[in-house]
């Protein structure tokens, strides 16, 4: 079908949020992983920071990323009228 302007806008916003969350994912995984030796010099609640991020901190951020994406996109669907099921 012919997509409307609105559809393109929806898709662009989807790409944008995907990109931002991907950048965050990259930051906590690879940038913080790369500098783990340096980060270990900082101590937070008794943990060396580099160790803590890889052991637990990044994991919690991953869960938050996915939660945010699901929440954001499910609202975006409604905003642009592309959600499933009309009765909700």
């Amino acid at each position: 079908m012919q997509l409307t302007q609105k559809h393109h806008e929806y898709w662009n916003r989807n790409l944008k949020v995907t990109g931002i969350l991907l950048a965050l994912w990259f930051l906590v995984t690879f940038v913080m992983g790369y500098f783990a030796r340096e980060l270990n010099g900082i101590t937070v609640f008794g943990f060396p920071l580099g160790f803590y991020m890889s052991a637990q901190g990044s994991l919690a951020i991953y869960v938050a990323i996915i939660w945010f994406y699901a929440h954001y996109m499910n609202n975006l669907d409604k905003e642009y009228g592309v959600h499933e099921g009309k009765e909700e």
Binding site: T29, G33, A36, Q56, Y69, E84
Partner: protein, 693 residues
């Protein structure tokens, strides 16, 4: 399905699983009472394994089905929350449940690559695949490749890749099943494999994805309970409170302090460690000297060495007073002397390897330990490469992606990825704490204790299995030094209940949890393989007019055949489990990920691109593994020092380049295919492309 009936269904499920969890807790209490009444441990082990396998079989029988959509995708009505639990069980294998904490114990920081890789991959699943595949809404991953790129070529390669990575992975799972059944019931490994397999088959055979889903939810509950109880108890036992995930920072500090003391020769404890290390260094040096002698002297040297030992026996025998023990030891040394030069070289090289035990303790929280900066940088490079391969592989393993076909809607698919990672997170968030707590116990309580008064769990495991717990008084001072202990990774989870002083019933529970983890993953994998063959090859390519009954009969028949072949291969005990698992991830990452993602996000991607991308990704990945993994015997030099387990680091870019080049040199995809791309991108369009038509 309307939202009201979904809500009612969820409520009903919650009730069922609530009862089920209560029943399971009751069962554990019953076994605990039996233990107190003096029922032997072996009987309790049988009860645990028997009861759980019967339970899974029961769910399988209740969920039996003859409907195609029920069999392949559980009728697409699994609520997000429950699909999350099922994915968690599907995902967490024997390697996660039993091996993870042990890997962290042994490798310290560097082991965290697995923790990160096996969780962060879900970000990619959520952002790039799950919602789009759900909208596409067919039955298998090759289905998507077939519809998006057209023709049998991409589908066929997809089937090949799905089978190769799932089969590699399933062998590792069945191995775990065999290991647990044999350890806790005393059955032979090979018998254990087939007993466990029976449990897998009853379930998936009768009800396909529907039965597997509901069993996996039940298995998740068992495995998470079994993982948490001992860790929490261990934490309380050592005075760190009931939330080990937070409180282990304090234990980590103590472990770090202790590491410093043991590495410092000027402290009494450190000096005792040093005497043991010196013995290992001397032994390694002696072996090295013999190797050098062998190289220059050849068989003459070998004969001289043997003569020395024989003279020693003779000397001891004539000495007065005679020392029978020394004579026995000397005779043993003669009997064990290598027969020829090749054998001697092999044995002495092995002896020389003992120098590894003379190394100082590696600090637990220290990232990328290496002898110099260069070695440390290489370790860092491999750490990051392994994470990338595991993450991308996570987002490409067909048995996981398939699970997102089973939710009622795109919206639920997105929520379901959240629940999946949440349930996985519970275990992975705990594993680093368990590793540190176990280390705390070993470093502060076991080290420094007397050999005559070893803790019960140490002597018990040392007699059961030397590969898991090997402890001997090397320097003869009667006191345990850290260098005198060799621990196998799997010991950490298996022995935690005993370390924490819990009764045997909890050990049985842990075994049941490990079995649940291995069975649930094996279930999902076998189903993926059988479906790829029955749905994609038989139905889509050979006989598209086959009636439903025949399609399901073929599927079930194939499931049986694949299961038996997998069990047979496993019973031969092939290679290194960790490598098998890593290989499966690298293969999936290189083969599937580029084509799947481009299929959704790049309208221009077409058939030639997909074929080229999948083939070059798989090709490079397999080539690198073949050339560099020692098992294959080529032993070519590494590219940029990347270990063979991370072969995907070359395969993934090769896959993307293949898709891009192949697509650009051939015509853009048809209007119909472009409509399909729109169809998957928007959860709901007014004129939805009907992929089924």
């Amino acid at each position: 399905m309307s939202s009201q009936s979904t809500a009612a269904f969820t409520k009903q499920l919650t009730k069922y699983y609530g009862f089920y969890t209560g029943g399971f807790v009751g069962f554990v209490i019953l076994v605990a009472i039996l233990e107190q009444m003096g029922v032997p441990a072996k009987i309790l082990g049988y009860m645990f394994l028997g009861a759980t396998i019967l339970l899974y079989a029961g769910i399988g029988i209740m969920s039996k089905t003859a409907e195609v959509s029920e069999y392949y995708v559980a009728g697409r009505r699994v609520p997000a929350f429950f699909n999350g639990m099922a994915t968690g069980a599907d995902w967490m294998s024997a390697a996660s449940f039993i091996g993870m904490a042990g890997t962290l114990y042994l490798a310290g920081f560097d082991g965290l690559a697995f923790v990160l890789g096996w969780t962060g991959g879900y970000c990619l699943v959520a952002l790039f695949l799950a919602p789009y595949l759900r909208k596409f809404g067919q039955f298998t991953i090759p289905d998507f490749l077939g519809a998006r790129f057209g023709g049998h070529g991409p589908r066929m390669i997809g089937v090949f890749a799905a089978i190769i990575c799932s089969f590699t992975y399933v062998i590792a799972q069945i191995y775990g099943v065999g290991l647990i059944t044999s350890r806790f019931t005393g059955l032979e490994f090979q018998v254990g494999v087939f007993v466990g397999l029976a449990g897998i088959l009853v379930c998936s055979f009768l009800g396909g994805m529907k039965a597997v889903t509901w069993t996996q939810v039940a298995q998740y509950i068992i495995l998470i309970v079994a993982y948490m109880i001992p860790v929490v108890w261990l934490s309380i036992h050592h005075g760190f409170g009931p939330v080990p995930q937070v409180a282990y920072g304090y234990a980590l500090q103590k472990v770090t302090d202790r590491e410093k003391v043991l590495n410092d020769k000027s402290t009494p404890d450190g000096a005792r460690e040093e005497t043991v290390r010196q013995i290992f260094r001397d032994r390694a040096a002696a072996a090295d000297a013999k190797l050098k002698g062998l190289e220059t002297g050849g068989s003459v040297f070998l004969a001289e060495e043997k003569k020395k030992l024989e003279d020693n026996v003779a000397a001891l025998k004539t000495a007065t007073p005679q020392d029978p023990k020394a004579i026995e030891a000397a005779e043993k040394a003669v009997a064990g002397f290598p027969a020829d030069a090749a054998k001697a070289k092999e044995q002495w090289t092995k002896d020389k390897g003992i120098s590894a035990r003379a190394a100082p303790i590696k600090a637990h929280a220290q990232p990328f330990a290496g002898k110099d900066e260069k070695a440390s940088d290489i370790a860092r490079k491999n750490f990051l490469a392994l994470i990338l391969c595991l993450m991308v592989g996570t987002a490409a393993l067909p048995h996981i992606l398939m699970r997102y076909y089973t939710t009622p809607s795109v919206k639920d698919a997105r929520k379901s990825v959240f629940w999946s990672l949440f349930f996985i997170f519970l275990l992975y968030f705990t594993a680093p704490a368990l590793a540190v707590l176990a280390k705390f116990d070993v470093y502060t309580i076991l080290v420094g204790s007397k050999f005559s008064e070893l803790p019960a769990w140490v002597s018990a495991w040392a007699t059961v299995d030397k590969t898991l717990m090997n402890i001997s008084d090397i320097n003869g001072d009667g006191i345990v030094q850290l260098a005198e202990i060799v621990i196998g990774g799997d010991l950490i989870v298996l022995a935690t209940p005993e370390i924490a002083g819990l009764p045997y019933v909890i050990s049985g529970l842990v075994a049941a949890g490990g079995l649940a983890a291995a069975l649930s993953t094996a279930d999902g994998l076998l189903l993926t393989i059988a479906n790829a063959m029955s749905h994609d090859i038989y139905y889509k390519m050979i006989d598209p007019n086959a009636p439903t009954t025949r399609r399901l009969a073929v599927s079930k028949g194939l499931l049986l055949v694949v299961a038996v072949i997998a069990a047979y291969v496993t019973s031969l005990k092939p290679g290194d489990i960790l490598f098998l698992v890593g290989a499966a991830f690298s293969l999936a990452a290189s083969g599937f990920f580029p084509a799947l993602v481009c299929g959704v996000f790049w309208r221009r991607a077409n058939k030639l691109g997909a074929i080229l991308g999948m083939l070059s990704g798989l090709g490079i990945c397999m080539y690198y593994m073949y050339m560099t993994y020692p098992f294959f015997g080529v032993k070519a030099p590494l590219w940029w020092d990347i270990n063979p387990i991370s072969a995907g680091i070359f395969g993934i870019p090769a896959g993307f380049i293949g898709v891009i080049v192949g697509s650009l040199i051939s015509a853009p995809p048809s209007k119909e295919v472009q409509d399909l791309v729109d169809h998957v991108r928007y959860p709901s369009l007014e004129t939805d492309y009907k992929a089924a038509a």
